[in-house]
């Protein structure tokens, strides 16, 4: 990532589109496919402008046939192309999950590495705006659990651009999960801290490296995507009380930067994991197990989870807000650890 300062701020949506455009300019094998990604520029703006520049052969709207076009992305990738394919909401994975987890994700292995499968599957995640139970899920754990796909999710526009470029250049399937509440679409509400300076030139952010986004010494808050911003806000609140929280942005679930997690907890002795995906059998359990299986004595008190409870996502605002992670819950989790 270039070091020189950039002052041009982008939303994640624009950063994604820019990364794709830059790769498309230098590599004609790259193309984009999905629902409403051409004339509309993507429901969440991440393909805006691409149709005008690259035309409808390389920016292809599809029918509502996810099984066919996810499979097609795999077939095209195995034939030498580098497709970027969109699943509009991650919630829709159920109509095409075989094409993803059993085919796209496994053909590198089934071929003993003789086929490359350079697909980027980009998909929106997250709730908070009352889109109810089939349009608000994160499903981070569902993808990260199954082998053969890398899984990334940026918390800000700079990482979004760098991770997208890295994903397009990767010879493996990469699932790029962008959180709607960070996307920078005005109508969706936006976390302002996700809109950051982004270098104009091409760069990659390595997949599998976490980032310490705030240093601290008393407690480690681990999260990804929206969870990072909750963590940062909680760290502010804790700082007012004299508690120094370190915030770790995972950026990637597969590969998972276990060293970074362990190093931070080794320093702080306390762990809170934040996740907007369903709590059980998911991200929070994995992070906690990673620490304690390494060395249970690292933890001075019981680790805490601030995750989505194990119920479908309700529509009604007070119900949904009750379930979502937020900074106050993280602070309460800190307090629950006892000191």
């Amino acid at each position: 990532m270039p070091e020189e300062a950039s002052t041009r701020k982008l939303t994640i949506a624009r950063a994604m589109a820019e990364a794709i455009a830059q790769e498309m300019r230098v590599d004609e094998r790259v193309f984009v496919m999905g629902e409403d990604i051409a004339a509309l520029g993507g429901v969440f703006g991440n393909t805006r402008g691409l149709l005008d520049e690259f035309g409808d052969k390389r920016i292809r709207d599809t029918p509502i046939s996810e099984t066919a076009f996810m499979g097609a992305a795999t077939g095209a990738a195995m034939d030498g192309m580098r497709p970027v394919v969109e699943l509009m909401f991650v919630d829709f994975m159920g109509v095409c999950f075989d094409a993803i987890y059993n085919c796209m994700a496994k053909n590198v292995y089934f071929s003993g590495g003789s086929f490359k499968v350079p697909v980027v599957l980009m998909t929106s995640t997250g709730g908070g705006y009352s889109d109810a139970g089939q349009h608000s899920q994160c499903l981070y754990g569902s993808f990260a659990h199954l082998p053969g796909m890398k899984v990334v999710s940026p918390s800000n526009a700079r990482d979004a651009k760098g991770l997208m470029t890295a994903a397009i250049r990767d010879d493996n399937p990469v699932v790029f999960m962008y959180h709607k509440g960070l996307q920078g679409m005005g109508w969706l509400g936006t976390e302002p801290a996700a809109i950051v300076p982004v270098p104009e030139e091409t760069f990659t952010t390595p997949i599998g490296k976490a980032a310490v986004v705030r240093e601290g010494s008393d407690v480690t808050i681990v999260g990804l995507a929206m969870g990072v911003h909750h963590g940062l806000r909680a760290a502010e609140q804790l700082a007012e009380r004299g508690v120094s929280a370190e915030v770790l942005d995972l950026r990637s679930l597969v590969p998972l930067d276990r060293e970074a997690i362990i190093a931070s907890v080794a320093k702080t002795g306390r762990l809170i994991v934040v996740d907007e995906d369903y709590q059980s059998y998911g991200v929070t359990g994995e992070i906690i197990a990673t620490v304690v299986e390494h060395d249970v004595r690292l933890l001075e008190s019981s680790p805490q989870r601030v995750a989505y409870p194990d119920v479908p996502i309700p529509f009604s605002r007070p119900l949904e807000q009750f379930c979502l992670p937020n900074a106050d819950k993280i602070v309460a989790a800190y307090d629950a650890m006892g000191h």
Binding site: D36, P63, I64, H135
Partner: protein, 331 residues
């Protein structure tokens, strides 16, 4: 099969109720969302898919159904829900996310489920087809009366679930009617950019079942074709595919600027709005009087006012109610 005067009047009233209802919802939806449109704000947050223009599909088909017949609908369900007799107050409270809503605010406008009139809908394209098939199977197995109708959009026809369901319905000769509301668009993708055939009803041939096309968004013609299909299903003669040419008068969802629409397309749609068309037809045929029109207007307005007032006054659920009803208790 021609509707009698009462059916026709019911169709007109129900179309009007649905239209005026959505106009009310539209206004309320924008509360708190101006000047800046923020989907999360206002008394009705989240996505809002209006069905205005598509009312003929709902009434022409559902005129033939009883409460015990099953309907599965889509992300754009208001017109069908209203025609099927879902309680308007509880439906409205649900759309507001209130405790008195159909599911206590858990579902919202894409998840209106009412066992009293066997109505369900969902936010995943083509998801309702399998459950409709299952309801049809259940009726056959139980030897109980009842058919199932699955409403889908023309975009949904290209989803694998369509094919699997049609084959099974035909194979098992089930009382299932699949109704395609062809409004020519799936969000911003036009039918010609998504569908290899010009008309979807020809796809019935892949299952050896009847397929019908009803042009021109005409509730009377829909009534006719649906009536035959439903009667056929009730006689145990199996499924039918019905494709209806209809119009989406609003954007895909509220907030959609529809810049992908060709110039002038929307004007043409408004010019053939089916509700004034039916009204004028019935007036001309003496099936409605000016007074009837006025009293229907008034009755519709009253029902909507009541439903909206009910929804507004209903309290929000307790936040922690979110954790209830993921599972039924074991008895």
């Amino acid at each position: 099969m021609q509707p009698g005067r009462a059916e026709k009047r019911w169709m007109y009233e129900t179309m009007l109720l649905s239209r005026r209802y959505e106009e009310a919802i539209e206004k309320i939806y924008l509360e708190g969302k101006q000047p800046r449109f923020d989907m999360a704000a206002g008394p009705i947050p989240g996505e809002m898919h209006l069905s205005n223009g598509q009312e003929p599909c709902a009434v022409g088909v559902i005129a033939h159904l009883e409460a015990h017949d099953t309907v599965t609908a889509t992300h754009r369900p208001h017109h069908q829900a209203i025609a099927k007799g879902v309680d308007l107050k509880e439906m409205t409270a649900e759309i507001f996310g209130k405790k008195a809503g159909l599911s206590g605010g858990r579902g919202g406008h894409m998840h209106l489920l009412d066992p009293r009139v066997n109505f369900v809908c969902s936010g995943i394209i083509a998801q309702g087809l399998g459950p409709a098939l299952g309801a049809a199977l259940s009726r056959t197995m139980q030897g109980k009366p009842g058919v199932a109708v699955a409403f889908i959009g023309e975009g949904a026809v290209n989803q694998g679930a369509f094919h699997e369901t049609m084959n099974l319905a035909a194979l098992w000769n089930l009382p299932l009617i699949v109704v395609v509301e062809d409004n020519a668009w799936g969000i911003s993708v036009s039918k010609k950019d998504s569908t290899a055939v010009e008309r979807n009803h020809v796809r019935a041939a892949a299952y050896g079942i009847p397929g019908h096309f009803v042009p021109d968004n005409d509730p009377i013609a829909i009534y006719d074709v649906a009536g035959e299909a439903i009667a056929r299903a009730r006689r145990g003669e199996g499924p039918t595919l019905i494709e209806i040419e209809t119009d989406r008068l609003a954007g895909h969802f509220m907030g959609d600027a529809e810049q992908y629409r060709p110039e002038g397309e929307k004007d043409a749609l408004f010019a053939r709005d089916p509700i004034p068309r039916l009204r004028d037809q019935m007036l001309a045929a003496g099936e409605l009087s000016a007074e009837d029109v006025a009293s229907i207007d008034a009755a519709v307005a009253r029902r909507i006012d009541e439903a909206v007032a009910f929804a507004r006054e209903s309290p929000y659920p307790e936040p922690s109610d979110a954790l209830e009803h993921a599972f039924h208790p074991v008895t």
